[in-house]
Symmetry: none
Subunit: 88 residues, 2 copies
DNA sequence: TTATATTTGTCCGTATGTATG
DNA sequence: ACATACATACGGACAAATATA
């Protein structure tokens, strides 16, 4: 069976664990550039954490430039064209 | 190029930006007293916002007494004769 | 009369931003 | 970290009234 993805007592706090998982999915292309990241509620349900925790994770990804959020709309995977500091 | 009139991330929320633009057009006379304001759908298309956002903007203008709405007919620019708090 | 198109009114569901315990 | 509430926003759907053919 599937191991719980998020460990509340892990070395890294939950919001960083969530961020790491999503970052990996973006890097592998499971979350394609330009596509919408699942809603905060969807991620909250999937990982079994509060929406606030998901928001913290998304904030990390935003700071890394991996995603960008449009208020009242959603969060999207940043494309190379949108990346401000050089296409990786 | 044409600047997008509405900025989803602006200091003011979109519905207030729409209200401000329409209020300006009324003040300059681009929208004359007694004339019909474009339909909610037309404004929605013009500004690239949801009808709900347009309705919020029109609500603001109604509260300011700049326009008045007739169900199933449309919204009209209030004339000085119609203004409740002192004719011109 | 009937039919169609237009416009506003209302409701639903979903989403993010912010604020508060 | 979690739970809840409110404001704002988008999209869709349907009803009622109106106008026109």
């Amino acid at each position: 069976m599937a191991a719980r993805e998020i460990d509340p007592r892990g070395a890294k706090p939950p919001f960083r664990q969530v961020a790491a998982i999503l970052a990996a999915e973006i890097k592998t292309g499971a979350l394609a550039p330009g596509s919408a990241v699942p809603s905060e509620k969807a991620l909250s349900d999937r990982f079994g954490v509060a929406r606030d925790t998901v928001r913290s994770a998304l904030r990390v990804l935003r700071e890394e430039g991996l995603v960008h959020t449009v208020p009242s709309r959603g969060t999207y995977v940043t494309t190379s064209a949108e990346a401000p500091d050089g296409e990786q």
